[in-house]
């Protein structure tokens, strides 16, 4: 954890960015102003790419987002014994079985970061009571 990850975006938040949702943009901009970072779990990025089928602009916008200095890709499968993969999978069980959500939950826990989403239900069910889940659909 060499960098300060303030917020983890799940795949629904990435899709909101692709849809031009102002709240997710303002969240990213604020974190950049604070000289902190937005973490994007690799599984969420893959899921967002999958959702941009036949959408070349969406694919390009995701690639562009990843070039932003305030954004950091959070890899999966880099820990000894693949502990992070196991944790993502197990945490996904409580979140409806979605691997991308499991990786986002695992990332939020590991970095003690806020969890940003437009679909808070699965993460809220899996994270400890009181964990900060930012509902982008409310802003």
């Amino acid at each position: 954890m060499s960098r300060d990850i303030a917020v983890v975006l799940d795949d629904t938040a990435l899709r909101a960015y692709l849809a031009g949702h102002v709240a997710v943009g303002e969240l990213i901009a604020e974190i950049a102003d604070e000289d902190r970072h937005v973490g994007i779990p690799a599984a969420c990025l893959a899921a967002a790419y999958a959702a941009t089928a036949d959408d070349d602009v969406g694919t390009a916008l995701l690639a562009l987002l990843m070039t932003t200095p305030a954004v950091q890709l959070l890899p999966l499968g880099v820990e000894p014994g693949a502990d992070d993969v196991r944790q993502a999978g197990i945490l996904a069980r409580a979140a409806g079985g979605d691997i991308a959500t499991g990786h986002a939950i695992r990332s939020a826990l590991a970095h003690q970061a806020h969890y940003a989403t437009v679909k808070p239900g699965p993460a809220t069910a899996a994270l400890p009571t009181g964990w900060s889940v930012l509902d982008l659909s409310e802003m």
Binding site: E26, A29, L64, R106, L109, G130
Partner: protein
């Protein structure tokens, strides 16, 4: 690599820089922060998002609320158990 340049500054900025242990480092840090902000805004505009100060301020207030220690402890236990 570094470069030398002569610049003009408002008095208040000059006074602040005089108080810094390393004026070059202070200027570099401020300019780099502005470069990041500009790059982020440029990327977001490509996605059709125009950021407002009011919108950022809402998140600033929300992000400033720390999670309680007992919640963070519960998070550590959950991760350790997974």
């Amino acid at each position: 690599m570094t470069a030398k340049r002569s610049i003009s500054l408002p008095d208040d900025v000059d006074a602040w820089l005089n108080q810094q242990p390393n004026a070059s480092a202070a200027i570099t840090s401020a300019v780099r922060a502005q470069m990041v902000t500009n790059r982020v805004n440029e990327v977001l505009r490509h996605a059709g998002i125009e950021v407002t100060e009011q919108g950022k301020a809402r998140w600033r207030d929300r992000l400033a609320q720390p999670m309680p220690d007992d919640v963070l402890d519960a998070g550590r236990r959950l991760l350790d158990a997974a």
